[in-house]
Symmetry: C2
């Protein structure tokens, strides 16, 4: 499927349609790019110059703490936006790494182009508003769950919510996403199996 189709399909999920001129403006401001497996879209410490929409593939967003331990924050499959929003908006170095777990095709937009897009196509504000609303709701549920539920239950919730991701990602990265060690996840899996 052609990359822009993914993007416009995502717009239409939120019942947001654009005029032909707007479509041209949108297409002219995004840049298409392809990453190989294990390649980095963004590295901790770098300036975030683009926000990135995933058309195909799978990414992971993670940070490395003072002790050198990786913490996976999100997986980014098709039709997700990835990037360090804080870094992007506030022009500070990124706290996060984003790398590709599979060969990945993306569309990218720079901050100044996004701002010009908001002016040219005001309805983009609506699109991103809804997007952030949803992201916020989903993150609130995850945060609540991580504060109050044991690892077993969080694992089950993850499996239920992202069955397709669970199958594409090694266990130790799922453990990191859940905030537990690979050993703990392994024991949880044994407990579920037995």
């Amino acid at each position: 499927m052609e990359p822009y189709e993914h993007l416009f399909r995502n717009f239409s999920r939120y019942d947001i349609c654009f005029s032909p001129e707007e479509i041209l403006a949108i297409e002219s401001l995004f840049v298409q790019r392809k990453f190989r497996k294990n390649q980095y879209i963004l590295q901790q410490g770098d300036m975030t110059r683009h926000e990135t929409f995933i058309c195909r593939g799978l990414t992971r967003t993670y940070e490395v703490d003072e002790k050198g331990v990786e913490h996976v924050l999100f997986f980014g499959p098709e039709e997700w936006w990835v990037g360090d929003l804080y870094s992007f908006l506030c022009s500070v170095p990124s706290q996060y790494n984003v790398d590709c777990l599979e060969e990945t095709e993306v569309l990218q937009i720079t901050r100044s182009d996004l701002e010009s897009l908001y002016v040219q196509v005001p309805r983009m504000n609506q699109y991103f508003r809804i997007l952030f609303q949803n992201a916020y709701i989903s993150l609130a549920q995850r945060a609540s769950s991580s504060l109050s539920k044991p690892a077993l239950q969080r694992y089950l919730e993850f499996q239920e919510k992202y069955p397709h991701i669970g199958a594409r990602v090694p266990d130790h990265q799922i453990a990191s996403y859940l905030g537990i060690t690979p050993q703990s996840l392994s024991r949880i899996r044994r407990q579920l199996a037995g």
Copy 2:
């Protein structure tokens, strides 16, 4: 201070200005309301009919799990929006309770009025987009922290980020916000003091 002043001051924090007609539209769609201490703005299981902007006072958003344990998700001081967004947007019963820890003055808007506001004042999309962006960033940092850092450090982060809230809220609610028991928080405090 007059309630609408708080609201417009919040708009202006994001460099968003409105024409006199827009200001009239905004003022006509929000309803002013006052809650006493301990009164509920929203109860778990109810339909969320309004989103609520806090002009004065302090709220807490919490949920009650299967075991009957309360989990505080957010505190809502002046110039915060509170409410169960998911319930509000999707017209499902709320998962959360919002009550007032102090006497609280708010401005409320219903879903249909907010939708009509987006049409009458398209720039409101921009305002809420930025609001959700920021809320999302802040929540992502909290979620990351709750997954990877010990309780002591989370407590210190909370104190640093919301010093004014820490002073206005009983400890056991801070403990709940941090995802630990009041006993654990008490021990952490002793450790810090000694």
